[in-house]
C-alpha cells in the first residue's frame, strides 16, 4: 500500500516536473512560441470558420429539404372518383410519404394570407384562376426529380413542379465550401506544423546539453521526449483556446446581426455552433501540436 502510494506520488511528481519543463521552454523561446501559437490559431480560425459555415449551410439545406415537396396541379373539372384514383396512384409510388389535396379555394386563401388582403382578391373569388392540386411529401427529398417525372405521367395530372432546384444549388455550394475549407485547412495546418516543428527544434537546441546528459546517464527515450511532445500539445491547446474564444465572439455577434436582419433565416444556435467548433478546433490544435513535436523529436533528437 505504502509503496503504491509512493509510486503514485512519484508519477504525479514527474508529471508536474514535465509540465514545468514544457512551461519553462514556453517562456524561454518566447517569440518563437508566440509565432507558433499565432500560426496555429490562424489555421484554426479558418478551420472554425469553415465548420460554422458548413454547419449553417447544412442546417439551411436540411430545413429546405424538409420543405421540399412535389406539387401536382390537376386538370380542371376532375370528377371526385377520378381525383381519388389519381391520389391512390400517387400514394402507391414508393418514394411518396404522403399526399394532401389542396382545393383551388384553399390555394387562393393561402395566397391571400401570404400577400396580404387586398381588394384585388375579391374579384378573383368569382373567377379563381388557380387549379386544384396535390401536395406530395417525399421520403427522400433528393428523389424529387424522379418522383415529379413519375407523377406527371399519371392521367389527370396537368403539371408538376418541385422546389428542388434551389436545393440542388445549395448542395453544390455546401460541397464547394467543404472542398475549399478542406484545402485551406490542409495548407494552413501544414504551415502551422512547420512552425511547431521549428519551436520544438529551438527547445531541443536550448536543451541540447541536458538531453545529451540525460541520454548519457540512461534516461529512457520517453523521459527525454515527453516534455517536448507536451510542449507542442500545449502550443496547440493554447491556440485552440484562443481560436475558440475569437470564433465564439464573432459568431455570437454575426448571429445576432443575421437574426435581426433575417428573422426567419434558419441559423444554427450560438451554443450548439460554438460547441461543435470548440471540439473540432481543439482536436485539430492538439493534433497539429502533437504531430509537429513528434516530427521534431524524430528529426532532431536522434537516438
Amino acid at each position: 500500500m505504502a509503496s503504491r502510494i509512493r509510486r503514485v506520488y512519484a508519477v504525479v511528481g514527474r508529471a508536474i516536473s514535465f509540465a514545468a519543463d514544457a512551461g519553462t521552454s514556453f517562456r524561454r523561446n518566447g517569440l518563437m512560441t508566440v509565432a507558433a501559437v499565432t500560426t496555429i490559431m490562424v489555421a484554426l480560425l479558418v478551420v472554425g470558420t469553415a465548420v460554422l459555415l458548413g454547419l449553417n449551410l447544412s442546417h439551411v439545406a436540411a430545413t429546405l429539404e424538409a420543405q421540399v415537396e412535389v406539387v401536382a396541379f390537376l386538370r380542371d373539372g376532375l370528377s371526385s372518383s377520378a381525383l381519388t384514383r389519381v391520389q391512390e396512384t400517387i400514394v402507391a409510388i414508393p418514394e411518396v410519404a404522403s399526399v394532401q389535396f389542396v382545393s383551388r379555394a384553399d390555394a387562393l386563401g393561402r395566397l391571400r394570407q401570404r400577400l396580404g388582403d387586398s381588394a384585388a382578391f375579391s374579384d378573383l373569388e368569382s373567377s379563381n384562376p388557380l387549379a386544384d392540386s396535390l401536395e406530395v411529401r417525399l421520403v427522400d427529398p433528393a428523389r424529387a426529380r424522379v418522383v415529379a417525372a413519375a407523377i406527371s405521367d399519371v392521367s389527370g395530372v396537368d403539371e408538376v413542379t418541385y422546389g428542388a432546384q434551389v436545393l440542388d444549388r445549395l448542395l453544390a455550394l455546401i460541397q464547394g465550401v467543404r472542398v475549399l475549407a478542406g484545402v485551406l485547412t490542409l495548407f494552413l495546418s501544414g504551415v502551422a506544423l512547420v512552425v511547431v516543428v521549428n519551436t520544438i527544434r529551438l527547445t531541443v537546441i536550448a536543451r541540447q546539453r541536458e538531453i545529451e546528459i540525460m541520454r548519457l546517464v540512461g534516461a529512457t527515450r520517453w523521459f527525454v521526449q515527453w516534455p517536448l511532445l507536451l510542449e507542442g500539445v500545449l502550443e496547440g491547446t493554447v491556440a485552440a483556446g484562443g481560436a475558440t474564444v475569437v470564433l465564439a465572439g464573432l459568431y455570437a455577434l454575426g448571429a445576432a446581426r443575421v437574426a435581426s436582419a433575417l428573422p426567419f433565416f434558419p441559423l444554427v444556435s450560438v451554443t450548439s455552433g460554438v460547441q461543435s467548433v470548440a471540439i473540432v478546433v481543439a482536436a485539430t490544435g492538439v493534433i497539429v501540436g502533437a504531430a509537429g513535436s513528434l516530427i521534431a523529436v524524430r528529426r532532431f533528437v536522434t537516438s
Binding site: R6, Y9, A10, G13, R14, S17, R209, E210, E212, I213, M214, R215, L216, V217, G218, A219, T220, R221, F223, S303
Partner: protein, 228 residues
C-alpha cells in the same frame, strides 16, 4: 566485463576509426588507453556505452552484445556505466549538487534517496563542502570531480573516462587520477583514455596502445611508450 571481437568502425564520412580491434577487459582492472589523437580511443569508449555501433564485429559489455540492444536496453546499460569527459559536461545553470540530482532524477530514483545519495558521492570526491557551488565557481579539477561524482552515483561496475585530465594542470590531473584509482580500488573497473605520459608511467597499470585504429600494444604494468 568488456570484450571487443574483431571490431571495425568506419564512420559515414569514410574515416576508419577502428580496424579489427579485439580486446578483453576483466572486472576490477584499471586500463589506460593511449595513443595520438585520432587513433580511435574515444570511438572505442563510445562503442562501449553504445553511442556508436560497430561497422562489423561484436562488442560485449556485461556479457551482453550491445549491438543488439533495443533503446530500452541502451538506457539500462548506461545506468550501469559511468562516463566522464574531458569537458566535464555539467549543466552550467545548476549547482554541483543539482547536477548530480539531475542524473538521479532522470533514471527515476525515489525522491527520498536523492539527497543522501548525491551528498554521499560529493563527499566521496572531496566536494561535500562545495555542493552548492555553480560549475563556473569551481576550478577545472573540481568540475571534473563533480562529473566523476555524477558518473559513480549509481555505483556502476564500470567507469569510462575519456581524457579526464585533458584540460587540467598537472596537479589537478594527478588528483583526478588518484580519485579514479581510489574508485578502482573499491572494485570498479576503470577505463581511461589519456595523453598524459607522466601519469601512465607512474601508475604502471595495464596499457592498451592504439595507432591508426589498431591495437599495437597491450601490456600489463606498462608505460606510456615502449622503452627504446
Amino acid at each position: 566485463m568488456v570484450q571487443f571481437e574483431d571490431v571495425t568502425k568506419v564512420f559515414s564520412n569514410g574515416v576508419n576509426a577502428l580496424r579489427r580491434v579485439s580486446l578483453r577487459i576483466e572486472p576490477g582492472e584499471f586500463v589506460f588507453i593511449v595513443g595520438p589523437t585520432g587513433t580511435g580511443k574515444s570511438t572505442l569508449l563510445r562503442l562501449i556505452y553504445r553511442d556508436e555501433l560497430p561497422t562489423s564485429g561484436r562488442v560485449t559489455v556485461y556479457q551482453r552484445d550491445v549491438t543488439r540492444l533495443r533503446p530500452r536496453g541502451v538506457a539500462q546499460l548506461r545506468r550501469r556505466l559511468g562516463v566522464v569527459f574531458q569537458d566535464g559536461r555539467l549543466l552550467p545553470n545548476r549547482t554541483a549538487y543539482e547536477n548530480i540530482v539531475f542524473a538521479l532524477r532522470v533514471i527515476g530514483a525515489p525522491a527520498e534517496e536523492l539527497r543522501p545519495r548525491a551528498m554521499r558521492v560529493l563527499a566521496l570526491v572531496g566536494l561535500g563542502a562545495r555542493a552548492d557551488a555553480m560549475p563556473l565557481e569551481l576550478s577545472g579539477g573540481e568540475q571534473q570531480r563533480v562529473s566523476i561524482a555524477r558518473a559513480i552515483v549509481n555505483n556502476p561496475p564500470l567507469l569510462l573516462a575519456d581524457e579526464p585530465t585533458g584540460s587540467l594542470d598537472p596537479n589537478s590531473s594527478w588528483e583526478i587520477i588518484q580519485l579514479l584509482s581510489q574508485i578502482n580500488l573499491q572494485g570498479t573497473t576503470v577505463l581511461v583514455t589519456t595523453h598524459n605520459k607522466t601519469i601512465v608511467d607512474i601508475l604502471r597499470r595495464r596499457v592498451i596502445q592504439l595507432a591508426g585504429g589498431q591495437v599495437v600494444r597491450d601490456q600489463s604494468r606498462g608505460l606510456y611508450a615502449v622503452e627504446a
